[in-house]
Symmetry: C2
């Protein structure tokens, strides 16, 4: 494994860096971003929060707009932000270049249908290849948490549920909780996974949480004025799935907030403190 | 005066909003952004920090990337961010579309040379038209501070020096301190103001501070690894200008930091606290 440093910038006494590497899983060059808190310069191995972004994003949106470096520096937590899909000339895209499928919209699944199955394997990339690379190349411990926004909130919750013990905690902003029943999820899953809805359920947070005996501690924030709330995100389905389970789960409706990074920035400190409490516990 | 609301988003229990208005000074429609802290909802009139952005920016860069809303909300300070030049089909641009002159590069001067003199009057816009509009239309007091980055750092310091008593404090990140002697400034000033260098000096922070008997309290942060440091920004000229003056001025070199918004985000809390101390004093 080799990685190329694309940029390196001081931020809150730590470092924001972008890297490129050739992904075996995805069959293309992938860029990712890392925030390293100042504690690493004292030789400390820090835990890692993986951040999965939403539709149209790259590794850059969260790092530039969420204001997360400040608390990551204070708490001594590294942040890793992958891209949201495979990239490159060989990677097929939505035939009409739609924002909600193909490039920038990998949905954190392993595609089984041609022509998507060759490159669109973001599930394996996030679960296996990327953490192995991070733990081999960076001064980090093996303690991991995961969070994300919208499509990435779906990814974070779903991946934490499918991999018990891998993440000490999971959180999400405005997640697509029930993609099997949401237009975004239905479009993506039918193309990536085919028409058999049974094969979709393994990637659906509501379905997975219904089957779970235990889950990592979970925190979800949802803006009350999010324009995607009722059609795409449906947090009420997630609440219904956990209502009588006694699971360690909190959903907070935040009145007046929308789907933007201003919403994420407003509450990222609380998510970072939530994760740090488990990462350092 | 009438303004049109373009967007309104909740952020840190306050509001981020974008507006458009027809500027008489600039002869075109102008967009600006306002952060209103939560205190305005309790009927409080809050003081205002004006933020002037650098080359290529619009009203959006600072609001999205600086992470300033958190402290503005805590301190009860509004932030107003104008665009960096006049805009629109009628507004001339650099003949080659260069990033450092014309659109996105108004340099906060009143142009005197054709064809720039019709629209490029950002000095008058920031000093007169915009504050009058803000104080007429928003729940703000008449207490004002000013800050900015790079070209906007030049604008903030220069405007505060030329208008004694208007701003209770001024600060800058990576300002162009001595545009008369910097390639960016020389290109812009020769085009906007003509070849007579004497007419440039009224817009040069080092020249102005040399002539000042008193200045508002000033704080300047400069990254030590800023790639524009020696050729364009020249903070040493500013230090030389104030060295023996006893003026209320602090320049802080910040080792390892570059020219980006990650640098601004790392120190914006200290600038906001600096301004709030004077705005509320």
């Amino acid at each position: 494994m080799s990685i190329e440093t694309l940029s390196s910038v001081r931020s809150f006494a730590g470092w924001h860096r972008q890297y490129s590497h050739q992904s075996e899983t995805l069959g293309c060059a992938m860029r990712f971003a890392v925030y390293l808190p100042p504690q690493v310069e004292e030789g400390e191995k820090v835990p890692v929060l993986y951040w999965l972004s939403g539709l149209t994003c790259t590794d850059e949106n969260f790092m530039q707009k969420a204001g997360a470096h400040r608390m990551a520096a204070e708490l001594g937590v590294a942040i890793v932000a992958p891209d949201t899909s495979p990239r490159g000339e060989d990677v097929p895209d939505d035939s009409e270049g739609a924002y909600d499928f193909g490039l920038g919209a990998g949905f954190y699944v392993n595609a089984t249908q041609a022509p998507w199955d060759k490159h669109y394997r973001m599930y394996d990339y996030v679960v296996n290849e990327l953490p192995a690379l991070i733990e081999a190349e960076f001064p980090v411990s093996d303690k991991k948490a995961i969070s994300g926004h919208s499509m990435g909130g779906h990814g974070a919750l779903m991946i934490s549920l499918r991999n018990p013990g891998m993440f000490v905690s999971a959180s999400a902003f405005s997640p697509i909780t029930n993609p099997v029943n949401a237009p975004w999820g239905q479009k993506a899953f039918s193309n990536y996974l085919g028409d058999d809805v049974e094969t979709w359920r393994q990637y659906d947070t509501c379905e997975l949480i219904n089957l779970a005996d235990s889950i990592p501690p979970m925190l979800v924030d949802q803006g009350g004025d999010d324009s995607f709330l009722h059609e795409q995100l449906m947090p009420e389905n997630l609440v219904g799935a956990v209502a009588s389970s006694g699971l360690n789960f909190e959903l907070r409706m935040q009145p007046g907030y929308d789907h933007s990074y201003y919403f994420i920035a407003s509450f990222i400190e609380e998510h970072l403190r939530f994760h740090a409490g488990h990462l350092k516990g």
